[in-house]
């Protein structure tokens, strides 16, 4: 069974899977805040990213936002269909709207991210 999601302050979520890989996406709050999404540049497969490094971009009608790697690791794969159906990010951000799979350099790094309670508190603060 996959572990619970963890979150970065920059609103990416990450979930450690049973096989030691991790799935990454952006939170429902972030998708809603960006409003109408029009384009997405997926991370580059095979690239090694450092925690906090931009590894993808998403454009809404008004803004381009970077997608940051929540932890360091190698990008194993991306959701190739996602740019063609960006509505998945809003409709199902934690399953069909996944963005990338990585192999974390150190899975223990996920423990340093926000758990659901802490993330809920963050977005509650940012919503006011």
């Amino acid at each position: 069974m996959a572990a619970p999601r963890r979150y970065a302050q920059s609103h990416e979520w990450i979930r450690l899977e049973d096989d030691g890989t991790a799935t990454i996406g952006i939170s429902a709050y972030a998708v809603e805040a960006l409003t109408d999404l029009v384009f997405m540049q997926l991370p580059e497969v095979g690239r090694h990213v450092k925690a906090g490094e931009s590894f993808g971009e998403i454009e809404s009608v008004k803004a381009v936002s970077d997608i940051y790697a929540p932890v360091s690791g190698a990008v194993l794969g991306v959701n190739e269909d996602l740019p063609k159906r960006l509505e998945s990010l809003g409709q199902d951000p934690y399953e069909a709207g996944w963005i990338a799979r990585i192999r974390p350099d150190n899975p223990a790094d996920l423990a340093g991210l926000l758990d659901q309670t802490a993330y809920d508190a963050l977005i509650a603060k940012q919503s006011h």
Binding site: S10, A33, L34, T35, D36, V38, F39, Q41, G52, S54, E57, E59, S60, V61, K62, A63, V64, S65, D66, Y68, Q126, S127
Partner: protein
Amino acid sequence: MNGIAVWRDGAADGPTNMAADECLAAEAARRGGMVVRLYRWEGTTVSLGAFQSIATARECDAIAGVPLVRRPSGGGAIVHGSDFTYAVAIPKRHAWGAKPQSLYDAVHGAMIESLRSCGVETRLADPDPAAEGAFFCFDRRAGGDLTADHPSATAAARSVKLMGSAQRRLADAVLQHGSLLLESNLDVGPAARHLALADLTGAVGQRPDGWPAWVDEWLERVAASLGQQIEEQPVSFLGTAPLGLAVGRERFAASRWTNRR
């Protein structure tokens, strides 16, 4: 931080202006508050949105031969040179930093009030999905764009877009830059020209230093809505030689960036 630092820059080329705007975002994060840069362009320049097609730009005869620069922000292409261009940056944790629309509406809303005091009535536009994919920014209508009634009663009901802005949302800061059309730009073909403030009012109302007459009021209104004061800086932003400017300029000038899509 109590004041909003405002720098007024002279004319620079596209890569320098884009690099300076990115440096401005870093400055906002460093200072922990809003910062503003007003600037001009060295000749007519077209800025493309971060993901616009370079092929479409190259195929547009109306802007043939005009220098191109790709912005870090989204949105459509803008013909600069006869416009008022600004950049505002705030830390991500700023009251207007959580959602794109907050900063957009605040900056544009202040402009509505400033233009009204000069006798120009404008309003925030409703989004028009049908125009979403238009190549030029001023042919698009995003929610919060600044529009005015078309000056001709016989024209289609469509309004005139006078001001549009776009953002780059970074890890610790939000950069928003935008353009208000002062006059139609005659350096480009008719397909790239758009009705401008002067077409509605007969004059732009420039001060002796070249900035529009309503700029100070606009800045004051933005500051007042935050309970802050404007702090005009004694030198230009480029004159401060911001860290990262040279590297950024090189990146924005590179064909790898311009032709990225």
